[in-house]
């Protein structure tokens, strides 16, 4: 149109290839879901490999799973669910154009995300000290029968833990099972590592969203980036909801089978 009277309905955030804000939002949200589908396939490959080895080395997976701290894992689950709540609130605030509220909820989300990563770092450090990092590249090399630290022979001794639970198991068999936990820990680090990597990217996204929210860019007309950031954050959260039982809770209910 030659006159500029109609420009009021042309939002500054409307990209040239779209006809309307509605089409833009539809397309962007749809694109995000498609992207999350690729993420599901990526984690799905890892989960499938995990499941196959869990069936193949079930006693070792039980032993490895019991040796990691379920309380830290549970704490982290609560932290992440909490962060999903603050994220949902940030999206809610964006839809209503509440600028301060968006910023605070985003900061809350980031604090909880950082707390999660902090706990994860603490757990990784424990594994390092117990010599439960698979391979022999990081730390003193993988060791599950008490050869790790000179001062405390018990540290990270999974073979002993297996025999404490069931003294009928011969020492050689216990040591073999303990040795096989290496593959459990390979998956533990691969899966939680890939998840943590997604968390770090999420933290970057949150920073960018906080910046844009503080400039007051989001309101009832336009909150797509916030919504997409939320979708991503919830997805990463849900991945953890699957990781926690798969890694931390194997056969906790019946010991010594």
């Amino acid at each position: 149109m030659s006159t500029s009277q109609t420009t009021t309905d042309h939002h500054p955030a409307l990209a040239h290839q779209f006809d309307s804000m509605e089409q833009q939002q539809n397309a962007s949200t749809f694109g995000m879901w498609v992207f999350l589908l690729t993420e599901i396939m990526m984690f799905g490959g890892l989960f499938t490999a995990y499941l196959i080895y869990r069936i193949k080395f079930y006693p070792a997976f039980v032993a490895g799973s019991t040796s990691i701290s379920v309380s830290w894992g549970f704490a982290n689950t609560l932290v992440l669910i909490g962060s999903s709540f603050t994220m949902a609130m940030a999206v809610w605030a964006a839809q209503r154009g509440k600028r301060q509220m968006q910023v605070w909820f985003l900061i809350g989300t980031m604090v909880l995300g950082a707390a999660f990563l902090g706990v994860k770092a603490k757990e990784y450090t424990d594994k390092y000290q117990e010599c439960h990092i698979p391979g022999h590249v990081i730390g003193k090399g993988f060791n599950t029968w008490g050869g790790c630290s000179a001062s405390d022979n018990k540290l990270g001794n999974i073979a002993d833990e297996i025999r404490e639970k069931d003294p009928n198991i011969p020492e050689g068999a216990a040591k073999q099972t303990a040795h096989q936990t290496e593959i459990f820990f390979s998956f533990y680090f691969a899966m939680t590592g890939l998840h943590a990597f997604h968390m770090v990217i999420g933290m970057g996204l949150m920073t960018w969203l906080t910046l844009r929210a503080s400039r007051g860019e989001f309101g009832p007309q336009y909150y797509t980036p916030m919504e997409l950031g939320g979708l991503y954050w919830h997805f990463v959260d849900i991945v953890w909801i699957f990781l926690f039982p798969l890694l931390y809770l194997i056969s906790r209910h019946h010991h010594g089978v």
Binding site: M41, M42, P134
Partner: protein
């Protein structure tokens, strides 16, 4: 508009996407899907010829039976780099990232893809991945074979496997982004009147390809990450020495890499559907069957992967199921071939260069597809598994099929992309030379494989030499066929005839805009009122 009685010499449009802006920045920071397509075109042309050089060296080496030209290590690197280059850096992006990128938005009548920045990002990611692959190449190459089989890749070899795996992994994200963009664009950006039942078959084919790209590629990504982790940190995920299962690697690898061969052929089938109808001057036969056979191939493609593993120790029952499912892929493929043939039946077929390539495709793809059934048969596969029969089958589909379709498509849409015609006589010659060279190269390999020559071997018994010499001779003819288009396409950029909007009198939105199209594709947003491929309606239109 003037009537058809006076022939109006076509003129270049004053403003189009190529002269909208000048300078290197306007290209490297462009968000125009047409320019990104050109960036991809240049990049993959480089990799096509690089991969071609490796192929030439392989064929040169195999002239003599005793492996006189290269050391066996070097030979292993040559076929690895040939495979990786051609598959991940040429075939996967070939039609989708170039012709698809250029045409898909125009064909459905929109200004651009849904996410232009992600489209540009896809090219940069591709270049970074390609950089890693080139770095692996110049620091000594990799000798795992393009399949990266564990534990060979994870432990035994001392070459730069991680570097190359990371390169392929990164390039994978480029293809995910292209697929994501196509899917969202087709769903959300179609012009008014462009219903699903009116989508050009090229768009259907690229849509089906995109489904495979977004669902398959992430699995190869995680597989390569695990290979790199295993290699870097000496953990045992696939290495049996460390408790891992090498067959699991093959399952995960082929879960992507089998569907990936449909990434590499479906867009080519889309190109052929467009060319065959245009040069038969007839409505396409069985539109919805061709459209849905693309989707069927994409879906079946995900449940046939273990036919690569019949001799890898999988159970006989799962082998049986995968064999039957592999046969099922033949159904939608045959639907396409029959429908193209039926489209030509009683049409007024014109043998311009694109049509020559399309005819070559139909024949060569049929041979390639049929020999695939030999390989899907459990008993026969034990005999011909890992022989040159597999190589010949694969190249009949990938070179005889996809490269032929790519070249045909490039000729067909060259006037749209550049605004100028390529010269017809050398183009026809090139199509003929390619066809002869291709068959001479790869047909003897069927016989070689059937007689028992294994693939990837550095030396062979002297009785195989005659067929190997024939194959190498064919390869040198094929090289001429591939270099010729490079020359006359470059020539036509400056000296080619001005093409005009619609030099083929073809149907489809891309022919309704100018050649080359303006930056926003259409001067007026198009509204679609006609069925696709309305070639039969021309006489009725011509009355007025």
């Amino acid at each position: 508009m003037s009537t058809a009685t006076t022939i109006v010499k076509p003129v270049m449009p004053e403003r189009h996407y190529l002269n909208d802006n000048y300078g290197i920045r306007s290209w490297l920071l462009t968000k125009d899907h047409k320019r990104i397509a050109i960036l991809y075109l240049i990049t993959i042309t480089f990799f096509f010829f690089l991969g071609g050089i490796f192929a030439a060296l392989i064929r040169l080496h195999l002239l003599t039976p005793n492996g006189e030209l290269f050391q066996s290590d070097t030979y292993n690197k040559l076929f690895t780099m040939h495979g990786v280059n051609m598959i991940f850096f040429f075939l996967v992006p070939s039609v989708p990232a170039t012709l698809g990128n250029f045409l898909l938005p125009i064909m459905i009548g929109t200004k651009d893809l849904a996410f232009p920045k992600i489209n540009l990002l896809s090219w940069y990611i591709f270049v970074v991945g390609a950089g890693f692959a080139l770095a692996a190449l110049v620091t000594g190459g990799v000798d795992t074979g393009w399949t990266f089989y564990a534990p060979l890749s994870t432990g035994y070899l001392r070459t730069h496997v991680i570097l190359l795996a990371v390169g392929v992994l990164i390039a994978g994200f480029a293809s995910i982004f292209t697929g994501l963009n196509f899917i969202v664009t087709v769903h959300r950006m179609r012009a008014p009147g462009m219903t699903w039942g009116r989508l050009p078959l090229f768009v259907w084919a690229n849509y089906a390809t995109s489904i495979i790209m977004i669902l398959g590629t992430p699995v190869i990504a995680i597989t390569l990450i695990l290979v790199a982790l295993e290699r870097g940190f000496h953990i045992g995920i696939f290495d049996p020495n460390l408790g891992g299962d090498p067959v699991l690697f093959q399952h995960m690898f082929w879960f992507y890499s089998h569907p990936a061969v449909y990434i590499m052929i479906l867009p080519g089938m889309g190109v052929i559907s467009e060319i065959v109808t245009c040069f038969s001057r007839k409505r396409v036969f069985g539109y919805s069957f061709i459209a849905f056979s693309s989707i069927a191939i994409a879906v079946f493609g995900f449940v046939v992967w273990a036919h690569h593993m019949f001799v890898a120790g999988i159970s006989v029952y799962s082998a049986l199921v995968f064999s039957v499912l592999s046969y099922a892929v033949a159904i939608p493929s045959a639907v396409k071939v029959f429908n193209w043939t039926a489209t030509m039946y009683k049409g007024s077929v014109k043998l311009d260069t694109p049509m020559l390539y399309a005819l070559a495709f139909i024949g060569l793809f049929t041979i390639g597809g049929m020999t695939g059934l030999f390989l899907a048969a459990l008993g026969l596969d034990i005999h011909i598994h890992d022989t040159y029969f597999v190589i010949a089958h694969f190249h009949y589909v990938m070179v005889g099929g996809m490269v032929t379709a790519y070249l045909g498509g490039l000729h067909f849409w060259w006037p749209k992309i550049t605004g100028r015609m390529y010269p017809e006589p050398p183009a026809k010659l090139a199509a003929l030379v390619t066809f002869i060279g291709f068959n001479l190269t790869f047909f003897p390999q069927f016989i070689l494989g059937y007689l028992g020559m294994p693939r990837r071997y550095w030396a062979y018994p002297p009785e195989f030499q005659v067929l190997n010499v024939l194959s190498t001779a064919g390869a040198s003819i094929l090289a001429v066929g591939f270099i010729l288009p490079l020359i006359y396409f470059a020539w036509s950029l400056k000296f080619g005839e001005i093409a005009g909007d619609n030099p083929w009198q073809a149907a489809g939105l891309e022919w309704e805009t100018s050649s080359p199209p303006p930056t926003h594709n259409f001067d007026k947003p198009p509204v679609v009122t006609k069925e696709p491929y309305h070639y039969g309606d021309e006489e009725a239109d011509g009355v007025h």
